[in-house]
């Protein structure tokens, strides 16, 4: 069946033929309106976001746990909990995930956290060095199911690389859109995979608007936009961060998580993943707190949180943390709900604090984070100082990307000294 990017949400022809495992329908998060599985993303009744509804009723908890533990060392170990066919691991994909959960005792000491209580989930270890591989891997399976042959997206950089790589591996054409002034490292890392990469004269929100209009135009027909018409499927990939963290902690929930906020999708799906593990009996049902982290120069959710608002007023971004520079975050209202429901908070740090935090994580744990990781580590420090984050409880801080992508942010870092190749010169420089 030919892909229909402009399919009506009432078109039932896209649902019955697709095999997306336990996924049964799309359900509006706002009003509960349900539609069949298809390449649609917004509710026809209220414009609310559509998300995947599942049938997990046939699962036995201990059988499911064994099945997961016997699965591959990537996100497909959680295939029974994702909108993917059961044989997903046999299909060409980039197979991300199962990244390291680093017990960060050195960082804990610096931040005043109890030994053994602080962990960094280091998603720079994914195939294109950011968490975006998780969500794109999901979108690839949805694109296959709906018959798309071209993959596209609006991107702040990391997603562009992930889409390019996944498209190359899976045999799709890719054409992705980025703000024209992205970090050069991210441009190269997106372009190298051979797909089309288009710079848009504007910021990310302008790019996003363009893609949303392209999707309704004949020029975009037959295209799978991973974070637009495939967004319900794509977003589920972030649940695997929650699954991995809990499994790596020995099937335990962390007490506190610090998660970066761009659109807010990742944070909302981590919460969804944790709730699913509780409902399935895979972890003990106990409270957890989710904290959101933003850069001050793009902090619409943090501002709304502190003002007590339940809606987010868009901002014009101005921060070095470009991967988080979404001024009009689609899932912002849900992040506010989750932070408040779980007893967490949303906080922001300025660019200088971001750079300091990147250096802190690097010198204490040997992890070179991109700016988004600097934001989460910086916010963690601030939350501890403000008494909002309990340093005696198990805390997981996310690093969602590799520092090699944002070298400009730490450009002042360099040589300790330049010396002649002699022992005398070495001693004279105070190094001996």
């Amino acid at each position: 069946m030919a892909a229909q990017t402009v399919a009506s949400t009432t078109d039932s022809t896209t649902s019955s033929a697709v095999d997306l495992g336990p996924a049964t329908a799309l359900s509006c998060r706002e009003c509960g309106h349900r539609v069949p599985l298809g390449p649609v993303f917004a509710c026809e009744e209220c414009f609310g976001p559509l998300e995947i509804a599942y049938d997990f009723s046939s699962y036995d908890t201990e059988e499911l746990r064994k099945r997961i533990e016997a699965g591959p060392a990537n996100i497909w170990r959680y295939a029974p909990l994702l909108p993917v066919p059961a044989d997903v691991a046999d299909k060409p994909n980039i197979n991300p995930g199962w990244t390291k959960l680093v017990q960060a005792d050195n960082l804990a000491r610096e931040l005043g956290v109890d030994a053994g209580k602080l962990f960094v989930k280091d998603d720079s270890g994914n195939p294109t060095h950011s968490f975006k591989d998780r969500v794109v891997a999901q979108a690839i399976e949805a694109a296959r199911a709906f018959g798309f042959t071209t993959l596209s997206c609006s991107s702040t950089g990391n997603l562009a690389g992930a889409v390019g790589a996944a498209a190359a591996r899976a045999g799709f054409r890719s054409c992705v859109f980025i703000p024209h002034d992205l970090e050069q490292g991210k441009v190269v890392m997106a372009a190298i995979y051979g797909g089309e990469l288009v710079g848009i004269e504007g910021n990310y929100d302008d790019v996003n608007r363009f893609c949303s209009e392209l999707i309704g135009d004949p020029a975009g027909e037959g295209w799978g936009f991973v974070n637009v018409n495939l967004r319900p499927y794509y977003a589920e990939g972030s649940k695997t961060l929650a699954y991995e963290i809990c499994e790596q902690l020995g099937w335990r929930l962390p007490d506190q998580l610090v998660v970066p906020i761009a659109s807010g999708s990742q944070l909302t799906k981590i919460d969804k993943g944790l709730k699913e593990l509780i409902e399935l009996g895979l972890v003990e049902d106990k409270p957890y707190k989710i904290f959101g982290a933003q850069a001050e120069g793009c902090s619409p959710v943090s501002v709304a949180y502190k003002a007590g608002h339940d809606v987010v007023r868009p901002q014009k971004p101005n921060t070095i943390a470009k991967s988080l520079a979404i001024g009009n975050p689609a899932d912002g209202p849900y992040v506010l709900d989750i932070a408040r429901r779980t007893g967490g908070a949303v906080e922001d740090v300025d660019d200088e604090q971001v750079v300091d935090a990147i250096k802190l994580l690097a010198r204490t744990e040997g992890i070179f984070a991109e700016t988004a990781g600097g934001v989460t580590v910086g916010v963690t420090r601030k939350l501890i100082e403000n008494g909002l984050l309990d340093p005696t409880l198990t805390t997981v801080v996310l690093n969602t990307g590799d520092g090699l992508k944002t070298l400009d942010a730490v450009a002042g870092t360099g040589l300790t000294a330049t010396i002649r190749p002699t022992l005398e010169s070495f001693r004279d420089a105070g190094l001996g």
Binding site: E44, S154, S212, G216, Q266, A330, P333
Partner: protein, 91 residues
């Protein structure tokens, strides 16, 4: 004032499948009212029960997000382009 309104896919059932329609009005609110006259039911999809823009709808007048402007009071000059776009995209 005559403006051109870009209609998102999920609202095209109200416009007979048309991706663009003409509408009249000096403000966005007046444009929405005029859309409703010719495409009955469309306003209730764009506005909530209090008559405000739904929180998951983005509306642009030319290049400007009306949330940065005056919302439904935003002026719609003659010949302007109005785009109605689902907000749940990106990230």
């Amino acid at each position: 004032m005559s403006v051109t309104v870009r209609i998102p896919t999920i609202l095209r059932t109200y416009t007979g499948g048309a991706a663009e329609v003409k509408a009249e009005g000096g403000t966005l609110g007046e444009v929405v009212s005029d859309l409703e006259k010719n495409h009955t039911g469309i306003a209730a999809r764009i506005l909530d029960d209090q008559g405000k823009l739904r929180r998951f709808v983005n509306v642009y007048v030319n290049d400007d997000d009306v949330r940065f402007e005056q919302g439904l009071e935003t002026a719609t000059p003659d010949g302007a382009g109005v785009s109605i776009i689902p907000a749940v995209a990106g990230g």
